[in-house]
Symmetry: C2
Subunit: 192 residues, 2 copies
Amino acid sequence: MDIGSDAPPLTPAGRRIVDAAEELFYERGITAVGVDLIAEHSGVTKRTLYNRFGSKDNLVAAYLAERDRRWRSAVRAAVDASDGAEEAVTAPFEALRSWTTTYTRGCAFLNALAELPDPRHPGHRVAAEQKRWLLGLFEELAAAAGCHGPATLATRLFVLHEGAVATAPLSLGTVAAAGDLARALVRAAVRR
Amino acid sequence: MDIGSDAPPLTPAGRRIVDAAEELFYERGITAVGVDLIAEHSGVTKRTLYNRFGSKDNLVAAYLAERDRRWRSAVRAAVDASDGAEEAVTAPFEALRSWTTTYTRGCAFLNALAELPDPRHPGHRVAAEQKRWLLGLFEELAAAAGCHGPATLATRLFVLHEGAVATAPLSLGTVAAAGDLARALVRAAVRR
DNA sequence: TGTGGAGTATACAGATCAGTATATCCGCGA
DNA sequence: TCGCGGATATACTGATCTGTATACTCCACA
């Protein structure tokens, strides 16, 4: 039922379809990319695409769910690699820094929300849930590090993070600036 | 030539077209809205639309230029209404707060950049230029208020602003949080 | 042996897309 | 009175859109 949550095993063709969708949707936009193009890029018939995913809307949700899965594992890896609980709070900014060297079109989820206004769209739900997850993660990490006012701090870090990823394609130095300020905020919230 | 800069006077039909485009493009997305729908909503023939704007791409640019013009005047009004140079620095956050009560689909310019990857698209240029303007404005205001490190502070305020407007549709309290943190940053940069 | 799932191949429906063609009407200023 | 710019009305082109129909091949597994 829900495509994103418990990862139904993909057939080989399904795998290739999601891979092609991930690149094309992200680089060119969701509405601008047709299913014919995705079928062609994945070396698959349109019939197979519809047998696997049922509709374009579901394929969009699968693309976002896959992106979400990979982003979360990158963030978790950065958290695990960080040196202590205080550094862990800003680990998502480290993940973002390397993430944006590969993906230069901004945030796939914010971009999707820009194109999918209808909250009933399955892709809209996946994207919105991704944002709520990140906000919750910041709060968990802030609490674990013993920060004062973890909820307020988490919202602030979340805003910084989203501002950085949203403006990353403009190359205005926002990714580094957000990380610097985030670390300063955490430092101040710990030592008090 | 350049639609946004020196505001060529619009004919009555042209005015109605831009108004309809502004609502439809913002609410439903640029690629998802066709020129036929805009012509219908503005009570105008498609022939007239093409006589006025030449192409959909140019109409998109005109829509964004109009939005930019109105947003800048709202920001300038907030700056003028602010009490002193220090408050003026965070005036854009006040403008944003009232702006987001009317426009609940996030930032028209970030949304446009999400849909228009090609930097040669006339709409892409208008949107990117809008962001650079805001960043520059923050720096001017910070310098005028005598803040320490106005460039660094401006980038930080800019990131906060963009994070707030990008996540505003999610109703996670980011607009208020960004404003609060912005005021604290300016306060700290002034008293030192 | 044979059954069913995965995938291919091709064609099609019906709608919508951006943009053009042709012809006409109206009001205003020279 | 003439001409011209703004706008209307309607029809059209050719491409592309999502989604479906029909008929086929291949292969693992029971």
